[in-house]
Symmetry: C2
Subunit: 357 residues, 2 copies
C-alpha cells in the first residue's frame, strides 16, 4: 500500500492506494467520530463489494443504499433518495457517509454529505480508474442539471480515500480505457516525465499489472493533489485540470449524457485542445501527434462524434462552467507537461478546430 | 445608516441598517465582480420592492424570478426553479444572486448561490424583522425536507446585507411580532442589558419608531455576528443561537410547516427552555417570569399548541439537527443573558416541561 496525502490544512486527507484495501477496517476507524455509517453504492458495484465493505464497518450502526447505476441518475431526484434514507434513519451531524463506486456515486454522495445538515463527513471508495485518479481527489461534488453537467454542487473534502486497485479487475474494459484518458491528462498538464513513462508502460497499466496500475494511480493522485492544494476552490491554477473538459462536456451534453462516457469525451477533448494549440502556433505539431497516438493506443476516441456539428459544439461549450462572464476560457497546451489557461484567442481557430475534427 | 461588520476573515461582510436603503446602488457596486445579476423574490414582496431593487442594478444584465411565498415552498423543487433560470440565462461563476424577501427567500437563494457551479456570490436584502436579525447573519442556508426543517443546506456567507428598516412597514404585524421573538432571544443568550433595554422599549420597537427599530436590529446583528465570528460552522458556541429552536422546530414540524410561523414557535420554545431550566434548578423562577411576560407583551405564544402531545413533541425533537449521535442537546438558561448547552439532563424534566406546557 502507498499513501498520497492531500495537503489542505484542517481538511488534509490521505489517499490509500493498493491491492485488497476494501474491507480493511483499520484504515477507516481513525476517521469516524460517530456511530452511524451509510454506505451508498449502485446496482453494478453492490454485488461485487458491498458485503465486504459493510463487514469492515461492523462496529458501527450501518445502513446501505443501492442506487441505479449511470450518469443519467446523477440528479437532484436521486440525491433526494440519499436524504430520505438519512432522515428516515435519523442520521445525525456526526454520521459518516461512504461512497462505494465510480465517479457518479462519489459526486452524488459527496454532495449529499456536503449538504446534509449543512455538512457531514464522508469517505470515498472509488472502484473505477476514473474515480481513483480524478473524482476522488479534490473535493468537487455535484449533480447534473438537464442544461449542464455538474452544475449543482459543492467543494467538500472526504476524510479519506481508499483506492483499491483490485476493484479495477471487475471494471468494464471501456471504463478502464476511459479512466486512462484522465491518467494521460496529468502527464499533459504538468508532468512530461509521467507522460513519457505512460508511453512505455501503457499496456502494463491497461492489463492491470499490479505495480504499473498502482504507479499510474499514485502519480495521477500526486499531480492532482499538488494542484488542488494550491487552489482548492478553482480560482486559478486548478482550472488547468479541465484540460479537454470544455470540449468533452460539450460532447457529452450534445450527445445526451451516457452515450459517450466521460473519459472518452475528455480524450477527444484533449485532442481538440492540442490541435487548437497547434493551430494557434503554441504547440509543436509533433507533440500533438504523440498525444493522439498515445490516446489511440488506449483505444480512446480522438475525433468528434460525427453527429455533432460545429454550431452544436459551440452552443454547448458556452454554457460550460469555464465560461467567465460570457467569455470562453480554454485550457490549451504549450508543451506536453505544460498546460495554460487562454481566454484571449481567435474564435476562428476554435471554429476551424471543430470543423476539422 | 449604521453598519455592523461580520468578521470572518476573507468572508468578512457588512450589514447596512437603516431607512430607505433599498435602491441605493452605491452600497451594492463594491461587491459585484461580474455583469449578471439575478434578483429572486416572492409574490408578496415583489409588488412592494422589486422595481426599485431592479433599478439599483441598472448597470448590470439583470434577471428576476418571483417565487411563490411561504415556508411550504422552501423545497428542493423550488430551489431547482432558481437553477433553471440560472442555466437558461447562462449565468456564469461570477454572477451575483440577490435574495429580496424574508428568511425563506434568503435561505433558498443562499443555498442556490452556495451550490450553483459549486458557489457564486449573493447579497441579502431581508424585508422581514426575522430575516434582518437572524437569517441574514451568519451564512446558514437551507431548504426543508418532508422529515425535517433546514435539513439540506450549506454554510455560505453573503457579500453584503442591506437591512432596510422601512420595509418593515409593509410587514404583516404577526410577522413583526415573530421577528421580535428572535430579537428577544439575543438578549436572553448573551446580552442582559439588551433584554432590559427591550423591556423598556418593546412598544417603540413594535411600532417601528425609526431609532428604536434600528437599535433593535443593530444590537441583534452585533450579538449574532459576535457568536458567528467565533464559530462559523457551529462546532460549539454557535449552537447557543438555537435557544428555543429545538422545541420550536418540533412545534413547526408537528403542526405542519406554516401553521405557526417560525418566530412564534421559537417564542413558545424559549418559554419551554426557560421553564425546563427552572425545573432543573438552573434558572431562578422570577427570570422565567420576566421572559414569559416580555414575550406576552409582544403578543407571542408562550404555550404549546393544544393539539401537540408530549410524544409527538419528543419524536420531532429527536430528529432535530441539534441531536448529536442520538443524544438530545438543549440550549438552556442560567440567567437572562447567559445561555448554555446541556446534553446531560434528566429526561423526566423534559417530559414534565412538555406536559405542563
Amino acid at each position: 500500500m502507498t499513501t498520497v496525502q492531500v495537503e489542505l490544512g484542517s481538511r488534509r486527507y490521505p489517499i490509500h492506494i493498493g491491492e485488497g484495501l476494501l474491507g480493511r477496517s483499520e484504515l477507516l476507524a481513525p476517521h469516524i467520530v460517530g456511530r452511524q455509517v451509510l454506505v451508498v453504492t449502485d446496482e453494478q458495484v453492490a454485488p461485487h463489494y458491498l458485503q465486504s465493505v459493510l463487514a469492515s464497518f461492523s462496529r458501527y450502526e450501518t445502513e446501505q443504499l443501492i442506487l441505479p447505476a449511470g450518469e443519467s441518475h446523477k440528479t437532484l431526484a436521486t440525491l433526494n433518495q440519499i436524504f430520505d434514507v438519512l432522515l428516515e434513519r435519523r442520521f445525525s451531524r456526526d454520521a459518516m457517509l461512504v461512497a462505494l463506486g465510480g465517479g457518479v456515486i462519489g459526486d452524488m454522495v459527496g454532495f449529499a454529505a456536503a449538504s446534509y445538515q449543512r455538512g457531514v463527513d464522508f469517505i470515498q471508495m472509488p472502484t473505477t480508474l476514473l474515480a481513483q485518479v480524478d473524482s476522488s481527489v479534490g473535493g468537487k461534488t455535484a449533480v447534473n442539471h438537464p442544461l449542464g453537467k455538474n452544475m449543482i454542487g459543492a467543494f467538500h473534502q472526504p476524510r479519506c480515500v481508499i483506492a483499491d486497485t483490485s476493484t479495477l479487475k471487475s471494471l468494464d474494459p471501456r471504463q478502464l480505457r476511459a479512466g486512462c484518458a484522465e491518467v494521460i491528462k496529468y502527464g499533459l498538464i504538468s508532468d512530461a516525465n509521467f507522460f513519457a513513462w505512460l508511453e512505455s508502460h501503457l499496456e502494463e497499466v491497461l492489463s492491470l499489472k499490479p505495480q504499473a496500475i498502482a504507479e499510474a494511480v499514485r502519480r495521477s493522485c500526486e499531480n492532482k493533489a499538488a494542484v488542488v492544494s494550491a487552489d482548492e476552490h478553482e480560482r486559478g491554477q486548478r482550472a488547468l485540470l479541465n484540460l479537454g473538459h470544455t470540449f468533452g462536456h460539450a460532447i457529452e451534453t450534445g450527445l445526451g449524457y451516457g452515450r459517450w462516457i466521460h473519459g472518452e469525451a475528455v480524450a477527444a477533448g484533449m485532442v481538440m485542445a492540442a490541435e487548437m494549440s497547434v493551430r494557434l502556433c503554441m504547440l509543436p505539431e509533433q507533440e500533438a501527434v504523440r498525444i493522439r497516438e498515445l490516446l489511440e493506443r488506449a483505444k480512446l476516441p480522438t475525433e468528434l462524434p460525427s453527429e455533432l456539428g460545429v454550431e452544436s459544439m459551440l452552443k454547448h461549450m458556452s454554457v460550460d462552467k469555464k465560461v467567465l462572464a460570457g467569455k470562453l476560457r480554454l485550457v490549451l497546451l504549450e508543451a506536453i507537461g505544460q498546460a495554460l489557461l487562454v481566454d484571449d484567442f481567435d474564435p476562428v481557430a476554435l471554429r476551424e478546430t471543430l470543423q476539422v475534427a
